[in-house]
């Protein structure tokens, strides 16, 4: 067969590339009995030595959840989830919150080393082996199933006044802050999965940056699901006080298992006057195998409130993992002149389904938002951008620009774009553009004529397609994200 005649003829699904983070860690676990009821919630709360108000808060969320139905509007399909067949608490068997890294179980440290996440306070992030003494340090909070196992660089951060700790610890050590802000952006009854999370969340990260402080290093949380039949329900709360700045990174992996695992996180961001939060995610949960067996259901509620004037929240995500992604990191632009940004790359292959996008709610005057979404579909996957831009009547002078591009690789996949634009102020200006295309044959040919393999050419073109998003990532993360894109699409073009 002449290659020139049918250059795309050999397009097929990703099957050759095994998921590289699919190992599991054999470690003695403490598991709550399967099922969800008020007693389990009391047990979680008791294990975490929580105050009474938080237990009541959880029980209220549970009551709300019981009255709700799973949402079905997203462009995804999955067999019914038996919420009573899951463990809602799983922890490595020792007291949560070790006092120092020396106390962390060596098996856990080894797990994170294997994942490329340094829990020794020396190196930089995930996957990139730094030369000795090179690169900026990154503080890491490592969450293993239901609990935080280690948080690094806490002393350095404390010197700057920055609080970075597991949220379970923040509940004990900084109750006023937690009580004031928890649920203030994503209320307990916001949606089905957020209600579930509010009832059973076990751990996650807490960040508080005091007024005027520029956080001296990148903060990072690394999520790992290990145990079988568990859900992970982490809760992240980040508060940037007046005039402060913080950049936060999130990474996720899980072992390769045949059954589906549920991940229903809630992330709340609060930016006060002149504060800035940059939140970056590289999501690489186990996506399931080529036939769609196994993989994580990633049903996540992420929302930021630009409460203060001139505040800014920027979401950047690279989504390559999970069997199903249901996720809309959003900005509520309350403060005048506040800014919301959403930069997203979502790659789906095999039987993956992604329904992701954002909501930009313009409330204050002269609020601005930018949305850049790049969807890449390959194999037999479905990739949907779903976004809402809403201009409220008082948002005079508001601006939105949305650019939404889809790239199809192969003819068995689907790419969908569902924007909702609602404007109630004449002085606002909203612009939306969307395109769908495939990699042009002349582009591929040109690259190959210059000596690139077809796969390298696809990588090059895909990276170019994603450039506007990747450049928003902190540098170390951007390198990892590029590698991840290459790995995810390996074998998509043969």
């Amino acid at each position: 067969m002449s290659q020139a005649a049918e250059p795309m003829q050999t397009v097929h699904a990703v099957t050759q590339t095994p998921y590289k983070w699919g190992f599991s860690t054999d470690i003695e676990m403490e598991l709550a009995p399967k099922g969800l009821n008020a007693d389990i919630i009391r047990l979680i709360s008791a294990r975490k030595e929580e105050p009474e108000w938080l237990l009541e808060w959880r029980l209220k969320a549970f009551a709300a959840w019981q009255a709700m139905a799973e949402p079905h509007w997203a462009h995804v399909a999955h067999p019914p989830i038996d919420y009573q067949d899951l463990h809602y608490y799983a922890a490595p068997k020792r007291k949560p919150g070790p006092a120092s890294l020396a106390e962390v179980d060596p098996a856990l440290l080894a797990t994170y080393e294997k994942l490329g996440i340094p829990l020794k306070e020396r190196a930089i992030l995930a996957g990139v082996e730094p030369a000795e003494g090179e690169g900026a340090p990154v503080a890491v909070d490592a969450v293993f199933d239901s609990v935080s196992v280690a948080t690094t660089f806490r002393a350095t951060l404390a010197k700057a006044g920055v609080i970075f700790c597991p949220i379970s610890e923040a509940v004990r050590e900084h109750p006023d802050l937690v009580r004031k802000y928890l649920g203030s952006v994503v209320p307990q009854g916001d949606n089905f999965y957020a209600a579930l999370n509010s009832a059973v969340f076990t751990d996650g990260s807490f960040v508080y940056v005091p007024p005027g402080v520029r956080c001296p290093m990148e903060l990072s949380t690394y999520f790992r699901i290990n145990a079988r039949n568990t859900g992970q329900f982490e809760r992240t709360l980040i508060i940037a006080d007046v005039g402060s700045y913080v950049s936060y990174l999130e990474g996720c992996t899980a072992p390769q298992r045949d059954e589906n695992q549920l991940h229903a996180a809630v992330v709340e961001l609060i930016a006060l006057d002149d504060a800035q939060i940059k939140y970056s995610t590289v999501q690489n949960w186990y996506p399931g195998d080529a036939e769609g067996r196994g993989g994580i259901y990633n049903f996540v509620t992420k929302r930021g409130a630009c409460r203060g004037a001139r505040s800014k929240i920027s979401w950047t995500q690279v989504e390559t993992g999970s069997a199903i992604t249901w996720k809309y990191p959003s900005c509520i632009l309350q403060g005048d002149d506040s800014v919301g940004e959403f930069y997203s790359v979502a790659v789906t292959t095999n039987r993956q389904q992604a329904d992701t996008g954002t909501k930009m709610i313009h409330i204050g005057r002269n609020t601005r938002s930018t949305i850049v979404s790049k969807g890449i579909s390959a194999g037999r996957s479905d990739n949907t951008y779903r976004g809402l831009v809403r201009i409220m009547p008082k948002a005079a002078g508001a601006r939105n620009h949305t650019q939404c591009d889809s790239l199809l690789i192969g003819d068995r996949c689907g790419a969908h774009t569902v924007p909702y634009i609602e404007s109630r102020n004449p002085t606002a200006r909203v612009e939306h553009e969307a395109t769908t295309s495939k990699i042009a044959e002349d582009q591929l040919f040109y690259c190959r004529q210059r000596g690139l393999s077809e796969e390298d050419a696809v990588n090059l073109i895909v990276n170019g397609f994603c450039k506007d998003v990747l450049k928003e990532l902190p540098m170390e993360f951007a390198v990892e994200a590029q590698k991840l894109l290459a790995v995810s699409l390996e074998g998509s073009v043969g």
């Binding site: 509007w73 201009i391 009547p393 889809s406 199809l408 690789i409 192969g410 003819d411 068995r412 996949c413 689907g414 790419a415 969908h416 774009t417 569902v418 924007p419 909702y420 634009i421 609602e422 404007s423 109630r424 102020n425 004449p426 002085t427 606002a428 200006r429 909203v430 612009e431 939306h432 553009e433 969307a434 395109t435 769908t436 295309s437 495939k438």
Partner: protein, 427 residues
């Protein structure tokens, strides 16, 4: 009562029940294909009326319609001479329906096409199971035109007019005409569809159109219903290979309007143009909803949709382009723009792409804003009064949708309707 309607609010269920009750009372007297009608009734019983939780009706609430209790049109021979003068003066044969019933005395039957009237013209395209208002129409339709243009014929221009006379304010009427048009291979027709009226009424027409291979249908539509009326229309167009469905719709009237179009490009190389302008003021609500399905390779679709909103009006555009697995080399484009001329107007826009083929060129764009202050100043600095400058810029805003109308007489009618609307706003 089934699971779908069970979850609906009581007022919506009651509204649907009132229509079902009318059907029960009338069923033995309604003309036409009883099997089709009963299937429509079954679908309507199952689905009821759509609420805003129904994704396709997210932005358009039927509450004002449901709160109106409709009666039968009492006198199908009502005098409507005054209204007839509002019909466009086009030298062409015409089919006139008054309160949904064909009026032989007001019509001039065309020579280039065959027309059958006297009962609903049920076709094969409508999906009462999917579209609740189509189920309603199927259940209660009394009349309609079945138009046939033979293969190879050029049927010239045909005017299809609906005149709503309505009842007294406490006795609004509802009518559900059901039309069909079959355009043979290589045939041509320009259909000018006009809906006008006075008083309160519900006009809920369904139109099923098939465009044969290499045939061309130009469809110009003017909805200038009474400001107290409800206008909910659904149109299905199936276009065979190299056929062309070229439409433009202008929405000016009704208190609550929805124009829904399902265009399916069924054969290789078919084309659809769905251009539309909605000019709305006061408390009007206008909804233009399209679904363009590319079911065959190498088809082209184009949509240019403009909303101009004043007062407290609300304009909605929902436009979906679906590209099926086999529809390679699809070329789909959609542009939706809205101009808000007052602080209380609202626009909602949902352009959608659903794509399953990889070798496609599909894009959409949407913009929302007000008149450009700099352009306004430039015009005024050249001596053009502010009101005229605004009119010019609004007309310029509509240019991409209006200018491509090739049918001269039709364009004149639509242009003057736009100009009159603007004059009414300015007054």
């Amino acid at each position: 009562m089934n699971a779908v309607t069970q979850l609906q609010p009581a007022w919506l269920r009651d509204g649907a029940a009132a229509f079902v009750a009318r059907y029960e009372g009338l069923r033995d007297r309604l003309p036409g294909d009883a099997a089709a009608r009963d299937a429509g009734a079954a679908a309507f019983r199952a689905r009821g009326l759509p609420g805003v939780r129904d994704e396709a009706w997210h932005y358009t609430s039927l509450r004002p319609l449901v709160e109106t209790r409709f009666a039968e049109p009492l006198t199908p021979v009502a005098d409507c001479a005054a209204l007839m003068t509002r019909l466009p003066q086009i030298d062409a044969p015409r089919l006139v329906f008054v309160d949904g019933r064909f009026r032989d005395d007001l019509s001039v039957v065309p020579s280039g096409a065959s027309v059958r009237v006297g009962g609903p013209a049920y076709g094969a395209l409508a999906q009462p199971g999917r579209e609740p208002l189509v189920a309603l129409n199927t259940m209660l339709a009394e009349d309609g035109a079945a138009i046939e243009v033979a293969a190879g014929a050029d049927a010239g221009t045909l005017l299809l007019a609906s005149v709503g006379i309505g009842g007294s304010p406490d006795r609004p009427v509802a009518f559900h005409p059901r039309h069909a048009l079959n355009l043979g291979d290589s045939a041509r027709l320009t259909l000018i569809e006009v809906a006008i009226g006075e008083g309160a009424y519900l006009h809920n027409p369904v139109f099923e159109i098939t465009v044969g291979a290499a045939a061309t249908l130009t469809h110009l539509r003017l909805q200038d219903e009474s400001r107290a009326a409800f206008h909910i229309s659904t149109l299905y167009a199936d276009v065979a290979q190299r056929g062309s469905y070229d439409s433009f719709a202008l929405t000016l009237g009704a208190r609550l309007a929805r124009l829904e179009v399902h265009a399916r490009l069924a054969g290789r190389g078919a084309t659809a143009h769905l251009n539309a302008v909605q000019l709305l003021g006061g408390t009007q609500h206008g909804d233009f909803t399209t679904v363009v399905t590319h079911d065959a390779p190498s088809c082209i679709s184009r949509q240019t949709v403009k909303n101009v909103l004043t007062g407290r009006a609300r304009g909605v555009f929902q436009g979906k382009i679906e590209v099926a697995r086999d529809a390679q080399k699809t070329d789909g484009y959609q542009m939706n723009q809205a101009l808000l001329l007052s602080t209380e107007a609202e626009v909602d826009s949902k352009p959608q792409l659903e794509i399953y083929a990889d070798d496609v060129k599909c894009s959409h764009g949407a913009t929302v804003g007000e008149l450009d202050a700099e352009q306004l100043f430039y015009l005024r600095s050249r001596g053009i009064a502010e009101a005229d400058a605004r009119a010019m810029l609004v007309r310029a805003f509509l240019a991409d949708a209006l200018d491509p109308i090739a049918h001269e007489a039709g364009r004149v009618v639509l242009e003057s309707a736009v100009a009159q609307w603007w004059e009414r706003q300015a007054a």
